[in-house]
Symmetry: C2
Subunit: 356 residues, 2 copies
């Protein structure tokens, strides 16, 4: 797999704050998930929201992924431009039919809906494109986010999809995949059977419990994003170990005003304010000083409490920091540095900031 070309730098020359990705860990994470899915007969459809990178998406496809998942049209447009031709938008599109039509005219599109308004968007887009769009009905498995909460609503939407020209009912979708998923799917199967509507497949998402979705027995397709890089949240969730975390933010100590306080040049504009949950306290883990805590952030400052660390970093020292939640961190940076075979080169974050 060829990599995007970028200026090569050494770690010493890297200007901070800078995201640095270990490609060997990425590849191991990708392979582990693909092998898992293959061994259980589950189709893997990686979510690109984590990396927003054409090159990373192509690595996932080269290993056997069955298309990709995007959250927003802007992400899908970038990936379609790059030649990726099977895209699920796992998000209800409302009133953006023209852009969806343009995508459907050139690549295989699937969308998720949970309302008649989102169904109308898909119907308008498919009619305008003159191409079929697959439509999943999203249901709520407890996240209380998007997704219908009642089986009868899922059935009513599926029926309307099936009746709409150029739309195909592609199945059911949820996030996350869990015990509630099983209960909903089983109830849905009974109701859909009675109505004479087949459920082609069930798509479930979420890295934290990815490696046990086969036990649920109802998941045909897995949508996961964070697994490519992992982060402190994934460590806290038991999905990954520190050795599986591929994405660090490199920061420099710029001040040591007191014995037990260091200031780094990465704040909320580099690390985000997202907490790590069970992944630990503070705003990221400093690999070389695991007993320190990045206890406060302002926009460009990270305040590091050194009280419980006998080793104290010096001004000018570069630190590798595992972020709490890598997905919004990627979205802050126009490019990442990728370390492979002892070389460091710059890769674009192609879909950065494309939230529309």
């Amino acid at each position: 797999m060829s990599a995007p070309k970028g200026t090569n730098v050494t770690f010493e020359d890297l200007e901070t704050p800078a995201p640095l990705v270990d490609l060997a860990i990425v590849d191991a994470n990708l392979k582990r998930m693909q092998d898992y899915c293959d061994s259980h007969g589950i189709r893997l459809r990686p979510h690109i929201k984590t990396h927003k990178s054409i090159a990373m998406a192509k690595r996932q496809l080269a290993l056997g992924a069955h298309g990709i998942t995007c959250q927003k049209l802007g992400e899908a447009e970038v990936m379609a431009d790059a030649g990726i031709d099977d895209i699920l938008i796992s998000y209800p599109l409302v009133g953006k039919a023209k852009r969806l039509a343009a995508l459907a005219a050139r690549v295989k599109m699937t969308v998720a809906i949970d309302s008649e308004q989102a169904l109308t968007t898909a119907a308008e887009a498919a009619a305008s494109a003159g191409h079929t769009i697959g439509v999943l009905v999203e249901f709520d498995s407890g996240a209380k986010r998007t997704g219908v909460v009642r089986v009868e609503d899922a059935l009513a939407l599926a029926r309307k999809i099936a009746e709409t020209p150029h739309l195909t009912f592609a199945g059911l979708m949820t996030y996350p995949a869990n015990e509630n998923t099983v209960a909903f799917v089983n109830a849905a199967r009974a109701a859909f059977d009675d109505a004479g509507i087949a459920i082609p497949m069930v798509s479930g998402g979420g890295t934290p419990d990815a490696f046990s979705v086969h036990e649920l027995g109802v998941i045909d397709e897995l949508r996961v994003g964070t697994y490519i890089y992992n982060d402190r949240m994934m460590i806290g969730a038991g999905h990954a170990s520190l050795a599986d975390c591929a994405f660090d933010v490199i920061a420099t100590v710029v001040s040591r005003p007191e014995e037990n306080r260091a200031i780094i040049d990465a704040g909320s504009k580099s690390l985000t304010s997202d907490p790590a949950g069970k992944g630990g306290p503070g705003h990221g883990l400093i690999r070389a000083y695991p007993d320190t805590v990045i206890d406060r952030l302002s926009e460009e400052h990270g305040m590091v409490d050194l009280t419980h660390s006998t080793a104290k970093p010096e001004i000018g020292e570069k630190l590798r920091i595992v972020p709490n939640h890598v997905c919004p961190v990627t979205n802050l940076h126009d490019a990442i540095w990728v370390e492979a075979d002892g070389e460091i080169s710059e890769w674009p974050v192609d879909a950065r900031g494309l939230t529309r």
Copy 2:
């Protein structure tokens, strides 16, 4: 003041999520702060970290601002490229002398330091550029961020600055300006007098208490950023009212899975996870539905609790949302939409993502 040209759109056509700025409120906020500073003989040096926009910086300068403040070299480079010729980097630069030298060779540069390492960077840059760099010594007024904590350390650094070729001791700097600032400055004046070193000026920062800094009696220069747009934090701090908030994120309701839950298409990748502090609960204020609470965010979803609102937004409805903390929100978006005289046009966020 001419505005950058961009495609004009109507509010109805605006694709969401989208940052929308009311230029009349911006101008009122800028004028209010400039008038305040003028009336108290304080020099205003606006911090561009909030807007990261060349056009906005030029509006501030046109009203009488005395140069600008940047937090990072990348911001300063963009502003210097645009012809802004008096820039303070209110942040300790460590090991980036070459880029600072390139700036000092073409514009009037001032930097803040709090360590010998940062002093060395400034000295190397000034020597390499062959141009004088002004150096402020940052002290800690209680934020426990950067800044020396002892007067004797400030004095030692000032002495070294004065002894270094091409460096000028430009004064003392702190954030925020408060009662501790007064105590430190008074103690410093006594110690510096004894040492025969003049303190040319004192620079203080922070929008929340900006309108009372004259009462401190020691602030010569004011660095403020958030005042241009304001946000829920500034409302909570008593600096602004809702009518002074110029920057909204426009989002669309994309799902209404239950009577009392709406989902909007703005999550942490559009609004950030920053809390509002005393500005109120949740992740932003929906202007038209002030009794709702955006109680949870995922990356592209905002979950809105409608329980305490008799009016409930419908799917497809566009909502104006006042963000909790506008500075990191700006940094998520490559462009803002600016509403002026009934027209909406796109302005670039020129220094977005420039954290190095």
